[in-house]
């Protein structure tokens, strides 16, 4: 999903000519549409007056930014040491089966993206998964099913 021109303008307008607002502006766009399409980077470069190469450099430096389309719902499974020993791997595989995609991919309908991380800093709660920004500790397969079912029912924001 690509943002329309007016949407981009709305997101960048207040930062016109402000090179230092780069990360914030990229973050706003990422929050809004979950990824940074090429047109968005080009628009940001023009509006803020930052060379496009530098915009691309920043966008590829921070893991937070995605240059590929992401689903409207993001599921992240932790595979840090603590989570790993407590069954993180099996949990990730469960998510993969449920969603029908491998880690790092997005479902064809653009609804879900599945990701893996190495430690989210909440090891006491291992194994850990994050769905749409909410942390779920001591995650089990059954719990995962109900969370996913909840998200599916909620429909799209």
């Amino acid at each position: 999903m690509c943002p329309s021109k007016s949407e981009l303008e709305a997101l960048t307008e207040k930062s016109t000519g402000q090179k230092r607002a780069l990360i914030q502006v990229l973050q706003d766009i990422q929050d809004r549409i979950h990824w940074l399409p090429a047109e968005a980077l080009e628009h940001v470069a023009r509006t803020l007056g930052v060379p496009l190469a530098q915009v691309y450099g920043v966008a590829t430096f921070y893991k937070f930014f995605s240059l590929e389309p992401r689903g409207r719902h993001v599921c992240t499974v932790c595979l840090g040491t603590a989570c790993h020993v407590r069954g993180g791997q099996a949990l990730l595989e469960h998510f993969e089966r449920k969603l029908g995609i491998a880690a790092g991919r997005t479902t064809p309908d653009g609804k879900f993206t599945l990701e893996r991380v190495n430690c989210l800093g909440a090891c006491a709660l291992a194994p850990l998964a994050v769905v749409d920004g909410r942390y779920y500790g001591r995650m089990s397969e059954a719990k995962a099913d109900s969370v996913l079912a909840g998200v599916r029912e909620d429909g799209d924001p």
Binding site: A38, P51, Y56
Partner: protein, 836 residues
């Protein structure tokens, strides 16, 4: 200030960094990311030093020297730290050879060069022996790397013209990124990706060609490793000597250094100390000098036409035929087109030859009218004094810059560097016109609509008057004020833009105004120049007229002093003669449009490269190129320099001076010409006032054309305030602005001869406003036909929002008579149609 480095007391001036201070004192500190011409980066950490009173180490390259500082650069702790840092750098750089005990004898021991696609060690690296990393390893004394070697396996990028990028060899020093941004103002490169995949790259990792790169080669020249290398320069054999020359391509006249082996030029590079370019050049000077000297298409021996075919001949035979044909045509039936990009000495002999054997109106170059002749015309017609040029470096000190209808980055790259520097020092740029690099760095922009150039100039002058500009001491101010109405007949958005520009220019002094021959384009060109002149007086601004071809300015002085019409004017008369078939014989020694069926019955061609005209000639004489002839060149600043021939003429080629002397002798004027270049220069100095005081022995940096007192006191130029913009073109007719892109060398046109350069310059495009394109029903990339009366040109459509509706822009090389005629007219109402 005084400080102590390694127990030595040293005295430094200015505000150097510690690294700079140490360098001055001859104390070596290893460094990889620092360059004196770039801002400190402190990325490689090799230059860490100990400063008394601080408990951490400081990078010498980013630490300002201070009074009384006590610095150590070689404590045991620093030495071992430096080795560790270097090891970390080398872990990701093929280093087997760097730390190999046999490296000094390797060349003798190894039996063959391995043929692999990857550079796995110095023996396979194109910069082996010429590498800063090798030197630093040597200096730091590293003999082993205790970390696992990592080969990052980046794909080597070979898709762009002129140079390859192998980021497996990159040490992430950031020099290329910084030079591209800080010095060139192009900002094509950045660090991209993260962690162990970090590399240098373009936006979206696209090819440089699609990223706004100008292929200036600056990044290649600052790279301390073999990551960026010129493709055509193979590691061996190496250059044996180098020779300094002045780049003949354009009027900025960069000082270049040629790397020579035997009689062959292997490469050309900008000389670090040369002015005005200071170690910088452009794609032509950096990558296309070698091809202009050798390469396919060079004329190596004389030819004469026998039984309808051109066949090789001896020099004497060719001279005899040429003399006979020219004599037969009679005094009135001969014409001479001489080259515009040759040394003053050769140009002088051509003019002497023309004066002796031809009518003056039948002697001209085919170069388009220069800014110098346009300014001179202004001086004569309106009785004002236009000062001679200034040093380009004076742009750097300006507070604001008006770039008037000019593409600096493409046509005047060295002037552009000065603008970039000024902007980095806080100057504000007013970009008038459509050049994208300028627009992207501008504090304000102005539309210079085709056909309304003078109106925009007048509008700006009026806006300056409104902001209260009132310089005293110049005549004509009251008249100027009276002629500028308070409100102008322009739209309110235009008025706002003019006001904003006026405010920037008045409040950031001194202002500089940069323009070239394009400012004099079209029927109201001289009015436009007059307005620029008035604007300069209102602001007390420095005027920087920028010339086009190499030595254009010097040859203009010659033409003036010897009583020949200036470029452009001379061509007009000669062109008319060709049209009327007034000539029986033409001595064609300069580049010229393809003469097609306007070719006179007898044609002598003299030049360096084959062309359509050469192939149609009756006699072909192979001439020396600039580096084979040497001589005196004057750049756009008026800087005069003389350099000796760097290499001998190839094959049977001879210098123009030799050929002219032989030809004149055969034609019965043995006194004309002279073999000694120094004698010719002496004669020029007696005949050309601006050069009277020039002494070729007086230091290699060049002296300046005399700034004579003949220019009088400046005064405001009376000029009619235009009544609104030019009448809008009738429906379907578009006003085409024709720029000049003929950036070739005498006979060597890089657009035709270098595929890479053609990809960079993209000739044959016409820029149209998207709204017009819509109306006519064309899209980006369509093949178009532009027609005006009997003439027509083909071009590819480019939709460009910064082009005003009802107008279009194109650049022509003037390689055909139609292109040349259109260029002379400058502004042409055309009909645009999709080509079937």
């Amino acid at each position: 200030m005084k400080l102590t480095i390694d127990d030595r007391e040293i005295l430094v001036e200015g505000a150097p960094t510690l690294l700079g201070a140490a360098r001055c004192a001859g104390i070596p500190i290893p460094s990889l990311c620092d360059r004196p011409d770039l801002e400190p980066f402190a990325g490689c950490r090799l230059c860490l030093v100990e400063i008394s009173g601080r408990n951490d180490f400081a990078p010498a390259c980013a630490t300002p020297a201070a009074e009384g500082m006590v610095v150590r650069t070689r404590t045991p702790e620093l030495v071992s730290l430096r080795k560790k840092i270097l090891e970390l750098i080398l872990a990701e750089h093929p280093h087997a050879c760097l730390v190999c005990a046999e490296k000094t004898t390797c060349d003798d021991l190894k039996s063959t060069i391995r043929k692999v696609g990857e550079v796995t060690g110095c023996v396979l690296c194109p910069v082996n022996g010429d590498c800063e990393l090798q030197k630093v390893v040597e200096a730091v004394g590293l003999d082993k790397v205790d970390l696992p070697a990592i080969y990052r396996n980046f794909e080597v990028r070979r898709e762009d013209p002129f140079f390859d990028r192998d980021y497996n060899l990159c040490i992430l020093c950031g020099r290329c990124i910084r030079v591209c941004e800080e010095v060139r103002g192009a900002s094509v490169l950045a660090f991209i990706h993260r962690g162990d995949r970090t590399s240098v790259g373009t936006a979206f990792d696209r090819p440089l060609l699609d990223s706004g790169c100008r292929f200036c080669g600056a990044c290649v020249d600052v790279c301390p490793t073999g990551a960026l290398v010129e493709r055509a320069v193979r590691p061996r054999p190496r250059a044996e000597r180098s020779a300094g020359v002045v780049c003949p391509y354009c009027a900025q006249g960069c000082g270049l250094e040629l790397g020579i082996r035997e009689t062959r030029v292997l490469y050309s590079k900008p000389s670090p100390a040369a002015l005005p370019n200071r170690g910088q050049a452009c794609a032509k000077g950096r990558f296309l000098v070698r091809d202009a000297l050798g390469g396919p298409g060079r004329i190596m021996e004389p030819h004469v036409r026998k039984d309808g075919r051109l066949v090789p001949a001896t020099f004497d035979e060719a001279i005899e035929r040429a003399a006979a044909g020219l004599l037969e045509a009679g005094d009135q039936g001969r014409a001479l087109i001489y080259p515009s990009q040759v040394s003053l000495e050769d140009a002088f002999l051509f003019l002497e030859f023309g004066r002796t054997f031809m009518d003056r109106a039948a002697v001209a170059t085919a170069a388009p009218g220069s800014i110098w002749s346009a300014l001179e015309a202004l001086t004569e017609a309106r009785g004002v004094g236009v000062p001679p040029g200034r040093e380009l470096s004076e742009i750097e000190e300006c507070g604001s810059i008006l770039a008037w209808d000019i593409d600096l980055q493409v046509d005047h790259p060295i002037a552009w560097l000065k603008v970039v520097k000024a902007i980095r020092r806080g100057a504000r740029l007013v970009a008038a016109g459509t050049a994208s690099a300028q627009i992207s760095q501008a504090a304000a922009t102005l539309d210079v609509r085709a056909g309304s150039e003078a109106a925009t100039g007048a509008g700006l002058a009026a806006a300056l008057l409104r902001t209260g500009a009132a310089p005293s001491g110049y005549d004509g101010f009251e008249d100027l004020k009276k002629s500028c109405p308070d409100g102008t007949a322009i739209s309110s958005s235009e008025a706002r833009a003019l006001q904003a520009a006026a405010e920037i220019l008045t409040s950031n002094k001194p202002a500089a105004i940069l323009f070239d021959a394009g400012a004099a384009r079209g029927p109201s060109g001289s009015d436009t120049l007059a307005w620029l002149w008035n604007i300069a007086l209102l602001l007390g601004a420095r005027l920087f007229p920028l010339g086009r071809g190499g030595n254009e300015r010097g040859i203009h002085e010659l033409e003036r002093a010897l009583g020949f019409p200036a470029s452009g004017k001379g061509w007009e008369a000669l062109r008319a003669g060709l049209e009327k078939r007034a000539f029986q014989a033409l001595y064609l020694a300069g580049p010229a449009p393809d003469l097609e069926d306007r070719k006179p019955p007898f044609l002598v061609f003299q030049g360096t490269h084959w062309s359509r005209n050469a192939e149609a000639a009756d006699v072909v004489l192979p001439a020396a190129a600039f580096a084979e002839a040497g001589g005196t060149w004057v750049n756009t600043e008026g800087r005069v320099r003389t350099f000796p021939a760097a290499i001998p003429c190839p094959g049977a080629a001879r210098t123009d001076g030799d050929i002219l002397t032989a030809l004149a002798r055969k034609m019965g004027h043995p006194g004309l010409g002279r073999p000694e270049a120094a004698a010719v220069l002496r004669e020029i100095r007696t005949r050309v006032p601006a050069l009277a005081r020039y002494d070729p022995a007086g230091g290699g940096r060049g002296e300046f054309l005399a700034r004579g007192g003949s220019f009088g006191t400046p005064r405001f130029v009376p000029v009619q305030f235009p009544s609104g913009s030019a009448t809008p073109a009738s429906r379907g007719v578009i006003l085409l602005k024709v720029r000049y892109s003929g950036d070739g060398l005498r006979g060597f046109d890089p657009l035709a001869k270098s595929r890479g350069y053609a990809k960079v310059r993209k000739p044959g495009q016409v820029f149209i406003a998207p709204t017009d394109a819509d109306r006519i029903g064309i899209t980006d990339g369509d093949a178009l036909e532009l027609s005006s009366g009997p003439g027509a040109l083909a071009a590819v459509a480019r939709l460009e929002p910064s082009v005003a509706e009802g107008t279009a822009e194109t650049a022509v090389r003037a390689s055909s008579l139609t292109e040349r005629d259109w260029l002379d007219r400058g502004l042409i109402p055309v009909e645009i149609r999709r080509k079937r």
